[in-house]
Amino acid sequence: MSQTPLLEIRNLHKSFGRFQALKGVSLAVPDGCLTALIGPNGAGKTTFYNVVSGRYKPSSGSVHFMGRDVSGEPTHKLVGMGLLRSFQITNIFPKLTVLENVLTPVIIHNGKSFSILGSLKKRVDLREQAEQTLDMVGLLPFANRIASTLAYGDKRLIEIAIVLARKPKLILLDEPTAGMNPEETDRIIHLIKELSMKSGATFFLTEHDMKVVFSIAEKIFVLNQGSPLASGSPDEIRSNLAVKEAYLGGSLDAKGL
């Protein structure tokens, strides 16, 4: 089984009208390998995530998760199998408390979506699971605050906690540090490293900030204008000429490398 990658993409195409957003992307994410997907603006990273997570159907090609062809399956089915994603823009339940934000996926995970027996306040088992998840991202002290009142960086952590609460096998993180200040960025880098080792989930992230990518990723894929450009270890990618050119004619150095 260790030979089967957790996620395997075969020759994936996606067009919107005449515009081809993805032109034959193939890649494999091994179980437990912290993987990153990078590429200049408009490379198709978010489209790629949208197809893999079931938001869009692929035009052609296939998506395999844990050895099963899941191309075009609806999102909630993929999530049921353990494939979850976070969003580039903060996508939480703003008027609910932080605890309720995480309780929602906990309820779904435990198959209690339609349980009307008993007050939620008395469901200690569900609350404990939610509190454990909040503790993993360090938000437990804010459990009873309304989510929209938290600082931006903390809201992004709620987003990650919501995903973790479903006990996923693969997490697609879309630009986890987007809009964060340097302190918040450092905090999330640490957190992703830690969660990647402790939570049992494999992380597959897209990122703008090359510093983040090169400091945490074990394997990197590069997309350019919808086509795969390169793949390999951080060192291999760093020295890849094609990659340097794609990033504004070799300005990778300017991006802090």
């Binding site: 996508n91 779904i108 009307i116």
Partner: protein
């Protein structure tokens, strides 16, 4: 937290006791008005499970209210006029219609959902209005055999306005307790989460349509119960009960009282009926006055009367600490 729960519980309990004792003090005329308010409160609250909790604006809630009324009337005339048969029959009919119609409506949301519910509501109205042999057409179905409520040992005389009032209060209270249980349950949190961000709910693995359909069906069933009581109260099931303007009434009363608070729609219903009663007693142009007062109330209480009062009280409590 316990304090808040106790305050809510005590308020609810006090209101219930006052309502139970009311017929001993007020005139028959007011008993009738109170009965209507209580029945319509359940109707508005059933609507608010969709609107306030699940975030779905339905313009077809009257359809299920009406189906409940007609199923009750048909059952009483043709099958049995036992209370214990008539009420479940009305509720069952409304549930089935809500399940089928909801299956189509929950495919869309926002304004598109509202238009779908409006469309289905109009179809139900036309059915009631034009299917003469079954529904009696525009005359409706007069309830000749009033349902008989027999309890072990004795029979309750529903022709007596006082007893009818107590019966309605009991049924509506049970329905409201049921609603409260739903709102406080795991399912209740899922409804609120769907309202807040349905996309996020589906991205953590819950089919949002199923959640919405469940809420739609429960709301329809409870509107059906309100329709049953309303038909018994008026001794008739008539097409106006399914008219879209009657659906609009649920929207109006809910927004008036506050969609964000559990008992908001009930407060809105009470204000609406009391106002209507007073204004119609001194002018035939009552709609102008009622409209003006409603506009003023909505402007003064942007979160609804109870909603705004509630947030003012909790703010002043926080300030006090």
């Amino acid at each position: 937290m316990g304090g808040i729960f106790n305050r809510n519980f005590l308020t609810g309990f006090t209101i219930l006791i006052l309502l139970i004792l009311a017929p001993l003090v007020v005139s028959t005329h007011w008993i009738m008005i109170l009965t209507e308010i209580i029945i319509m409160s359940l109707y508005a609250m059933s609507f608010n499970l969709l609107f306030g909790y699940t975030g779905l604006l339905s313009f077809g809630q009257a359809g299920f209210f009406g189906v409940g009324a007609y199923c009750m009337a048909l059952t009483a005339a043709n099958i049995s006029n036992s209370f214990w048969v008539c009420v479940p029959a009305g509720m069952f009919g409304a549930t089935v219609f809500a399940l089928v119609i909801g299956w189509f409506c929950v495919r869309l949301d926002e304004i598109y959902f509202a238009i779908l519910t409006l469309g289905f509501g109009m179809m139900l109205f036309t059915l009631a209005h034009n299917w003469l042999s079954v529904t009696g057409g525009s005359d409706g179905l007069t309830i000749m055999k009033m349902p008989v409520l027999s309890l072990p040992g004795y029979t309750i005389e529903l022709f007596n306005p006082k007893y009818f009032y107590w019966m309605s209060l009991s049924v509506v209270s049970l329905a409201i307790i049921f609603l409260r249980k739903i709102v406080n349950s795991a399912f209740g949190l899922l409804l609120t989460a769907t309202r807040e961000n349905s996309q996020r709910v589906s991205f953590v693995g819950q089919n949002v349509r199923t959640v919405r359909l469940a809420a739609f069906t429960v709301a329809g069933a409870l509107a059906g119960v309100a329709g049953v009581l309303f038909a018994m109260f008026n001794r008739i099931a008539s097409p106006e009960m399914l008219h879209w303007s009657f659906s609009g009434k649920a929207v109006l009363m809910t927004i008036l009282g506050g969609s964000g608070v559990f008992l908001g729609p009930a407060v809105g219903t009470a204000i609406f009926f009391v106002l209507e009663h007073f204004i119609t007693s001194f002018t035939t142009n009552w709609m102008i006055f009622l409209g003006a007062i409603l506009v003023a109330l909505v402007l003064l209480f942007p979160q609804g009367v109870l909603g705004t009062l509630d947030s003012v009280i909790s703010k002043s409590e926080k300030g006090g600490n």
